[in-house]
């Protein structure tokens, strides 16, 4: 790991000022992804600014919804009484990710900043446009079993690894950010980026901007009775998703009043499926509807040598997730 300077910030303004001075400075909170990447020399910050002492750990009611502090730990968020009651999809998604130990250290803000698990990104001896722009994409014609089937570019076919973010995407969360030029709100769908020609950029966050909170809007609690996060992976636990599905329905008299659908493990960002939602909205609550929605969601999907199975797996997973959500979102 490259040497770096280390400072502890006592409030967000000093933290931001410390980072803004150095293009190669970074905030560190739980560190579960950043330290991992620093050990691999993928991340080489000159300066780490420790934000763990900032007062951003609260989870509280806000405008009828919930405000999740950026520094609340993933495990505390998943187990918070109000999150479980009103946004069970978020709890489920968090709890399906990583391990208890990692969820105890990882923060909500850090979860958003996770970088891809692409093998080629992680190995500095391999080409990767995300890590080293212009070096080529190792995955495009390499081993791409974990890779994207939607929204990829010829520069990068990496996927975003988060589970929590898929639920946040489905529920139209809003990210609160503080920066050198003040505060701003970023709708979740605009936070992460598709790779295009700039795969080195994962998010639209500017250097020095600090995530302070994630807002779950009041309207999204309408789905609490019928939502489910389905994660499909290579072993029963402690593995990244091959495909995951956040499904949320509001049901009225056997009809879907409104629906939300987002996919994980399929794209460079948590993938919202508005085409599928259009099929679901107002449609009768049955398998035929779910199948049509699944087809719509993956209409533009394109597989590569080793991951074409994800297209069909995604379709089937969508039907399954919607089916469980249409019940009561319980697994048993």
């Amino acid at each position: 790991m490259k040497p770096f300077a280390f400072t502890r910030a006592s409030n967000s303004q000093t933290a931001i000022q410390a980072v803004i001075k150095d293009q190669a400075a970074k905030f560190i909170a739980g560190g579960t992804n950043l330290v991992d990447l620093m050990k691999e020399d993928v991340e080489q910050p000159n300066h780490l600014v420790d934000i763990n002492r900032l007062a951003l750990t609260r989870i509280e009611e806000h405008n009828g919804g919930l405000r999740l502090g950026a520094l609340a730990r993933n495990s505390d968020t998943a187990n918070h009484r109000l999150v479980r009651e009103r946004f069970p999809l978020v709890s489920q998604a968090i709890l399906s990710g990583a391990s208890a130990q990692l969820r105890n250290a990882a923060t909500n803000g850090g979860n958003l900043m996770q970088r891809t698990r692409c093998y080629y990104f992680y190995d500095v001896a391999m080409p990767c446009n995300k890590r080293q722009p212009g070096s080529g994409c190792g995955a495009l014609e390499g081993f791409n079993r974990m890779h994207a089937i939607l929204g990829a570019s010829t520069q990068c076919i990496a996927v975003h690894p988060s589970d929590m973010c898929v639920a946040l995407m489905a529920l139209d969360a809003v990210i609160q950010v503080e920066g050198p030029e003040g505060s701003r709100s970023i709708p979740f769908a605009e936070f992460h980026r598709l790779p295009g020609d700039t795969p080195q950029l994962d998010t639209n966050l500017k250097h020095g901007e600090l995530i302070t909170a994630i807002d779950l809007p009041a309207a999204a609690s309408a789905f609490s009775a019928h939502s489910y996060y389905l994660k499909i992976r290579d072993r029963a636990s402690y593995a990244f998703a091959l495909v995951s599905i956040a499904a949320a329905l509001e049901v009225q008299n056997g009809t879907i009043k409104q629906a939300r659908l987002a996919l994980g493990g399929v794209a460079h960002k948590p993938w919202r499926a508005p085409e599928a939602e259009a099929v679901l909205n107002g449609a009768p609550l049955n398998q035929e509807t779910f199948r049509r929605a699944a087809t719509a969601a993956l209409k533009k999907a394109q597989g590569y040598k080793y991951n074409s199975f994800k297209v069909e797996l995604g379709r089937r997973g969508i039907v399954r997730a919607l089916t469980i959500a249409a019940g009561e979102g319980r697994t048993a």
């Binding site: 770096f4 280390f6 502890r8 190669a24 579960t32 998943a78 130990q101 319980r330």
Partner: protein, 222 residues
């Protein structure tokens, strides 16, 4: 302590500031990539950082290279080698310790970010010669073979039973909306212990050890 921290802060920002100006000048040359430019910046020497930790009841005042993980600190500097390095990347759980009562992977924890924390390692679980109930149960139920993942498994299990007492839910809990006590089924134990890999495959023994301690209502406290 406050003064010390501020001094450190000033020292380091000054140091970093110098490096950055040089870096930006090089970048504006348009010669080479960011990575190459930054490589020309004079080495940033990792200034040692003051850290206070309480480990298994003993207080330590340390000055640490900020790169030192909690795991390496325990193993290489404090001679607490009960905490194991299996992957060093948060992928096996062998390094699990309790920080302020919560289980984390010490390999991904920079020690400098845990100033003031209270840490319990496997060496801190027994009271003298009296083993923690989970330690005894792991022997009794064949919860290990080689023993290398065992420290992490036991620390993890200690915290896990506390989490269950607090009513936390897991990935296999049927309905996360339901509040109140959680029934600790074998599947709940398995899911909650899945962050600790055992390559010898002693999972059945691990599950029955934990089940017994939980069912006996024996104290899971540390």
């Amino acid at each position: 302590m406050e003064d010390l921290r501020r001094r450190d802060f000033l020292k380091q920002t000054a140091l970093v500031g110098g490096g950055v100006i040089l870096g930006q000048q090089l970048l504006t040359d348009g010669s080479g990539t960011l990575k190459q430019a930054l490589a020309l910046v004079p080495e940033i020497t990792a200034e040692k950082i003051a850290v206070r930790l309480r480990v298994n009841g003993a207080n330590y005042g340390l000055r640490l290279d900020p790169r030192v993980s909690l795991l390496n600190l325990l193993r290489e500097q404090l001679d607490l080698t009960g905490t194991k390095k299996g992957c060093d990347h948060g992928q096996c759980g062998a390094c699990t310790v309790l920080v302020d009562g919560r289980r984390i992977n010490s390999c991904l924890a920079l020690a400098v970010t845990y100033d003031g924390a209270e840490i319990t390692t496997i060496e801190g679980l027994a009271k003298g010669d009296q083993l923690h109930p989970l330690q005894s149960a792991f022997i009794e139920h064949e919860g290990f073979q080689c023993g290398y993942c065992t420290s992490g498994q036991i620390c993890s299990a200690v915290a896990m039973l506390q989490e269950v007492e607090q009513g936390t839910v897991s990935h296999v809990t049927a309905d996360v909306r339901r509040q109140g006590p959680v029934e600790l089924t074998d599947d709940e134990i398995r899911e909650r212990m899945s962050g600790n890999v055992c390559r010898c495959g002693a999972y059945p023994g691990i599950v029955s050890a934990i089940r017994e301690v939980s069912a006996a209502g024996r104290s899971s406290s540390i």
